[in-house]
Symmetry: C2
Subunit: 342 residues, 2 copies
Amino acid sequence: MEQNLTPVSTLGEFGLIERLTENFNSKNESTIKAINDDSAVIHYDSGDTIVSTDMYVEGVHFDMVYTPLMHLGYKCIVGSISDIYAMNGTARQALVSLGISSRFTVEALEELYGGIQAACTKYGVDLVGGDTTTTKTGLVISVTVLGNANRDEICYRNGAKVGDIICVSGDLGGAYIGLQVLEREKRVFLEAPGARPDLAGFDYVLKRQLRPEARKDLVEIFKSEKIKPTSMIDISDGLASEIMHISSQSGVGCMIYEDKIPIDENTYNTALDFNLDPTLCALSGGEDYELLFTLDPADYEKIKNSPDITAIGDITNKGSGYKITTKSDNVYDLKAQGWKHF
Amino acid sequence: MEQNLTPVSTLGEFGLIERLTENFNSKNESTIKAINDDSAVIHYDSGDTIVSTDMYVEGVHFDMVYTPLMHLGYKCIVGSISDIYAMNGTARQALVSLGISSRFTVEALEELYGGIQAACTKYGVDLVGGDTTTTKTGLVISVTVLGNANRDEICYRNGAKVGDIICVSGDLGGAYIGLQVLEREKRVFLEAPGARPDLAGFDYVLKRQLRPEARKDLVEIFKSEKIKPTSMIDISDGLASEIMHISSQSGVGCMIYEDKIPIDENTYNTALDFNLDPTLCALSGGEDYELLFTLDPADYEKIKNSPDITAIGDITNKGSGYKITTKSDNVYDLKAQGWKHF
């Protein structure tokens, strides 16, 4: 261990938690008691409580070779609060549990918590609890996020109706392409240690992979425009998998138009460099944390000029199945690659 | 893999979750939406929301050599809801995230979920969400539990006052002694594979270790007797560590009497067989999930005849420090071994 780095064992569990959380201050009125007791205490003056949990595992969700800890902390919060926005709710509190191996120093964990804090601050979320333990091998991060929404505003996956417009925020496939760039540079590095990674020109896709953002802004637009999506989901596993969740739970079919799928130029060109089909990256790439939602046509009229929202298809009847119309005007069944971890 | 066992990969993430959770039915009115969406939705008609999270790691918190998966699932729920009872609240909902390696079969995970379900049913808790992912090595279980309580009933760690009576539920040290028995039989087994474990006569301590219970009954007694502990904590790290948390956060001292510490006969005798000091097992053993609390003397009068609650000491002024009076009438400083994982 380098000089000036502090082994976690010198602090113990309680000292470690105290050190990592000393700069966190709660901002939400709903946070009655944060950290330092058996449980946190929360009170929302209005609406229902929304809660979601995600687990991030080293070697599965992230590779320590090219993932800065600051970004990792940020991304874990973003990926988790995205589930609250996907319900059309407001994220308010987070609990973060860490499983760490002895190779992590206090300074490394402070970096991780720096990223957690940056995301909490940006999205107005209070860190209210967690757990810390050792693991035999890699890093495991479990994040639980709580938020609230009025019951009649909550968007489930099962409310899409025939004739609804399928919309998506931002652009897709970037996070997956960013991952390909990082994996390529890792291979180069492993073959020739000392080689400097060549990341120039990939800023956009790298940011999409390493430091994504969640679409809190969209939930705010829905509120101000008095729009309620008939269904909504966040895109963590790829567009195809997510639209099939919505369609299957809603008991409807869907038609996506390939030429409407929003793909950033940097994503598009880099995909081609990698001999990858940009559309396939958007359909199956995942980790974009954009929101996929269906709108009644009347609601769609209210936001159709928003530059950051794209209509990509229509909800059809169940018998029509889950389809995509390609740029060459062929119609294919959508295929969900979905979860690639097993 | 033996015949008739199903690799997780045949189901995929969503099929797996569906299979594991198909027998779970929500019972609490406060559970508005469970599983199957981005988040769960909860609404408590009264009180504050209490939330806590714990992470359980293979090789750190449990050893698959001697831990039946059914018991493991049960224990993870119990250990987590214990934190809600320690706030004097009622546990209502749980979210369970699993990190599993490919060696686990669907049938093994069904056993784990059988234990989770048994605990949820016994304690009236609804499973409302979670996450499932792979790990490179062992099993990681992250449990988040939510519950509620009226704000004026919530017990924190920081309310103990000079003159309060320090009480504990049940008896202590059993879980630690149960672990010693299991570790001994594991060593025997590793030295002579095929040797049958000799567990006769250890039923009580083994149950304390493998299938502990949480003290929901105590919270109900407090309510019916109109008692509010001035402070409360659950004993997961050992009596010494926990009473020092209460004392330090309350800004007071404490005096524990060794001869008052409740230790079951089976625990006591087995400790001596292992050449261990039974008192030390109670002070530093952990995992008993009993409740440690402080009562105003007037409240103590109301439950002093309860066979399952023992007064073990007094809250003193801060300057007196954290002390124990031994059976031989010597006074020593309490030492918290606390967390042994790092």
